[in-house]
């Protein structure tokens, strides 16, 4: 084993639309070590979800992985057959979604849906599956499991449903769990409970790739953070380093926008401008049109990931 749960090397995922190729994820290099919670932050449409879907092998048509490698526990999972991918999903790598309200099949009992994962991936009887399902549902903090397993999804609240989703994702104890904005649709109390649960899972040995646009969530649970902008990773570093010494102007902007919630300044701080159209990216650094410390070099050439201060802290900015 290479000592990495997930390693993404120079991943490029594009959508082939009628107007041309849209690079939704460009040159993504990312790794998740065992027992780590790694965060990806960025605004809507910056390629977070596409990166996650690429790992699952579930990029929607007309998108596909163009180049690059994805290694799960040291084994290449890009370019494997549909059947192999199907057996990996759910057992080795699992995913939970943003919308717990619609991610459960409305006509199948909750317990049955959790059992199904086991029945697919393991050779066990229905009775054993039921037992296992009850155990895991209890572990994710659902009380009165027996009666709740007989419920249909519409009878459960959002928080409960997300717990069920997590239970489904965890029941085969995958080595990697991808959480695509798992708490966005939930209220904050439930959010805190879910995050605590995820931390617990991580301590139990599962690595988690957490996707969020919520800096608070990231700061609370992640060990390592990647910041994405317009399809590229623009900054990466350990959570505390990155939050305390943001090197990329975009990261600074994000943190500034969040901070102003508490400060006395009347207006919210925002990053001027809008996210560029991925079809027509500006030359050079894609953040240059919105950057307040933009130089001539920025407009002509895209920087590589450059070291910024502490070890492991990299940023895609000429000024670092």
């Amino acid at each position: 084993m290479s000592g990495k749960t997930l390693e993404i090397r120079h991943l490029n995922t594009s959508f082939f639309t009628q107007k041309g190729e849209v690079g939704a994820a460009k040159d993504i290099c990312l790794e998740v070590r065992p027992g780590q919670i790694v965060g990806i932050v960025g605004e809507s449409g910056c390629g977070k979800s596409v990166t996650a879907r690429s790992v699952m092998g579930l990029v929607k048509y007309p998108g596909r992985v163009v180049s690059g490698e994805i290694l799960l526990n040291g084994t290449r999972i890009t370019g494997i057959s549909k059947k192999e991918a199907c057996s990996l999903r759910g057992s080795e790598v699992s995913m939970i979604f943003q919308e717990p309200m619609t991610s459960l099949n409305p006509v199948i009992k909750v317990g049955r849906q959790v059992e199904e994962v086991l029945l697919i991936h393991k050779k066990i009887t229905k009775k054993e599956a039921k037992k296992e399902a009850a155990k895991i549902l209890e572990a994710v903090g659902i009380s009165d499991v027996a009666s709740r397993m007989e419920c249909y999804p519409h009878q459960l609240s959002g928080g409960l449903r997300q717990r069920v989703m997590i239970a489904m994702a965890m029941i085969c104890s995958p080595s990697l769990l991808i959480a695509d904005e798992p708490t966005t649709a939930l209220d904050v109390t439930v959010e805190a409970q879910i995050l605590r649960l995820m931390k617990k899972l991580c301590e139990a040995g599962t690595s988690i790739l957490l996707i969020s646009h919520n800096l608070g969530v990231i700061a609370q649970v992640c060990d390592y953070v990647y910041v994405m902008y317009a399809g590229r990773i623009v900054e990466q570093g350990e959570t505390f380093t990155l939050f305390d010494h943001p090197a990329h102007p975009y990261t600074r902007g994000l943190l500034g926008a969040a901070k102003s919630l508490r400060s006395d300044a009347g207006l919210l701080k925002t990053i001027p401008g809008v996210v560029p159209n991925l079809l027509h990216l500006p030359a050079g650094c894609s953040f240059s049109p919105r950057c307040d410390s933009c130089m001539d070099l920025c407009r002509s050439e895209m920087p590589d990931m450059l070291p910024a201060g502490e070890k492991g802290h990299l940023t895609r900015c000429w000024r670092s």
Partner: protein, 313 residues
């Protein structure tokens, strides 16, 4: 003491843990009461009297068909040539036909045919149509094109004409009527199920099912098909009466059930010649057809109102 920004962020996010016992009480309340099949039916009975009445009518017809030999003294082919075309009386509840056969008896025996032809071919065509529709909608590509073009061909013919052609080739008889009706009706079912699946396969729970590695076949038949059920129940209650009508029409035209067996369509046709001097010959089976068709339609409406999980109040 200097506090890092990350710590501040983290702390702002930490929310007090609500009392866990309160939470479990709250959750218990959220689950609410269990809805059994009987409680659903009771609700329908409460909300929709017409549906209940329809169910009773259908039940009566079914009982009549099952216990036909016990409900009448005559048999459906016993002729009483001295008593031809007699008007309704205590002796013959709905009168007799041109061969002196008791119309009430023939109506009971005819309802066996009508109910069977209503239900059996409809189930056949729904099964076939649903399977083909799900495959077509979920797979897309060549499977979709093949199945849908086939359905287009079926739908391009006037269904009555198609049924007549098939019946003509197969010959009369109950089994052939079943086959014909199933062949004629599967296409519209497949169309509707396909369109439903096209919408459903984009939903998150299908995605979630794929994420946990559920094989495609299971997704199609365990996850997608049951979600089409509300539509299919309505479709079923609409197709049953239309199948009854088609059978009646075929028999009326002499292509369905053959004499001396009895079928409502056949009876209407036989009575046609005597419409002016013995109108009950045609009238009685016509009213029976109308009653059963309306009853199925109203029952379908009522069922849809309570069974549709998306209309829960």
């Amino acid at each position: 003491m200097f506090q890092s920004r990350a710590q501040k962020f983290a702390r702002r996010y930490e929310k007090p843990n609500p009392d866990s016992r309160d939470r479990s009480e709250e959750l218990k309340r959220e689950i609410g009461e269990e809805e059994t099949f009987f409680s659903l039916m009771r609700r329908m009975a409460h909300e929709n009297k017409l549906a209940v009445f329809s169910a009773i009518v259908i039940l009566l017809f079914i009982l009549g068909a099952v216990f036909a030999p016990f409900l009448t003294r005559y048999s459906y082919h016993d002729m009483d040539l001295l008593n031809r075309l007699s008007a309704p009386s205590a002796e013959h509840l709905f009168g007799t036909d041109e061969a002196g056969r008791d119309i009430f008896t023939r109506l009971l025996y005819g309802s066996r045919v009508s109910l069977l032809t209503g239900v059996v071919p409809t189930i056949l065509s729904m099964l076939g149509g649903a399977v083909l529709g799900v495959i077509s909608g979920y797979h897309g590509g060549w499977a979709d094109a093949l199945i849908m073009r086939l359905a287009d061909i079926m739908l391009a013919f006037p269904s009555m004409l198609l049924a007549m052609v098939i019946m003509y080739m197969l010959g009369g008889g109950l089994i052939n009527v079943f086959l014909t009706l199933a062949l004629v009706n599967w296409a519209s079912v497949a169309r509707i199920v396909r369109s439903e699946v096209l919408a459903l396969k984009e939903t998150e729970y299908v995605e979630a099912a794929r994420v946990i590695g559920v094989p495609e076949r299971t997704i199609m038949f365990r996850h997608l098909l049951p979600n089409c059920l509300p539509t299919m129940i309505v479709l079923f209650t609409l197709n049953v009466p239309s199948a009854i009508l088609t059978e009646s029409s075929l028999s009326f035209l002499g292509l369905g059930i053959q004499e001396p067996r009895s079928s409502w369509g056949l009876m209407v046709n036989a009575g046609r010649q005597f419409l002016y001097n013995a109108p009950w010959l045609s009238l009685v089976p016509s009213i029976a057809i109308m009653l059963i068709v309306l009853a199925f339609n109203f029952l379908g409406d009522g069922l849809r109102d309570v069974l549709d999980p998306y209309q829960k109040r």
